[in-house]
Point group: C2
Chain length 189, copies 2
């Protein structure tokens, strides 16, 4: 079976986790939406749904981690870049009828107390984001300790704003969070 079948399965699980979480997504639905034969699931993921879940989290997390430098890379003013990053998230949320936010947060809340393998995958992603963010914030001139606090504040603000924005069907929480984080960054610079 071609490797692109594996990619299609992971794209499908990533999208379904974003919209309805890990527990609400069956492997049958993942395979169907990927247009893949059922046997391909256990061919590529012998550990079944948990292995596919962990790989989905790590892969989605890595891809999402690439979005931040697209908006707030070294060429941009950091506070302006952070505002653009949040605005991009808000735009995607509205364009997808408030469905596409972050698949990691949903899974992290669902599984952190019941599945150690998946919790560790979520923790690895958050640590990757924190490390990448700290490097960028330090480069912008913020001392490392303050940079770490600001990056954690930013990720928490984004994830929490996604929770509120999806439930309220409003981008107000994302707009508020963006201003709070950008203001804190400007004050630190």
């Amino acid at each position: 079976m071609a490797t692109d079948t594996r990619e299609r399965i992971l794209d499908s699980s990533g999208e379904l986790f974003r919209r309805q979480g890990y527990m609400g997504t069956g492997v049958k639905q993942i395979i169907e939406e990927a247009g893949a034969p059922f046997g391909s699931l256990y061919h590529f993921f012998p550990g079944g749904k948990a292995e596919l879940g962990a790989e989905t989290i790590r892969r989605s997390g890595f891809l999402y981690g690439l979005l931040f430098p697209e908006y707030a890379g070294p060429e941009a003013d950091l506070a302006t870049g952070v505002r653009a990053f949040f605005a991009g998230a808000a735009e995607t949320l509205v364009a997808t009828d408030y469905a596409d936010a972050c698949p990691i947060a949903t899974v992290a809340l669902e599984v952190s107390s019941v599945n150690e393998e998946l919790r560790e995958a979520c923790a690895d992603v958050f640590n990757l984001w924190i490390e990448g963010g700290v490097a960028r914030f330090v480069e912008a001139g913020i001392p490392r300790k303050r940079a770490r606090a600001l990056v954690i504040e930013m990720i928490a603000a984004l994830e929490g704003a996604f929770v509120l924005s999806r439930a309220l069907r409003s981008i107000e929480p994302l707009e508020v969070a963006a201003e709070a984080v950008a203001g804190a960054i400007s004050a630190a610079l």
Copy 2:
């Protein structure tokens, strides 16, 4: 069947939703942990799991809403009260091995795109919290528009910090979020 059976069912579903979400919780488990007869579920909640879910969200949300004024009521300095509120949440999280955070956020992320009845219940809870918070912040002397932004920032920071803290098994995100929000409140006062 006694009304306290209904309360026990709602206590049980509230706790299970906090730990493992709505989709990962079966009605059989809710009834068993409540020590209730199976028939009592449909006696008290003719609409089944969705009706029980919506009632759980509204009831948990109301009870959680009472926690904030316990820490940050009119007799307390607002920024100090907010720090104590976050510290209380962190203490509970550690005491429950990072399980007991907020049942509303987990359900909001799981169901917002797939179950309108439950999404509305989550939205009602968040709006209740926002309104209660705005009243307290205005009373402390913050203009209404700024108060609304600060309250949304606070709730988003708390919910997002829960996501990170549960996945990372660390209260650092809650501590960082508390300082960020308390600092913003002090600046606004």
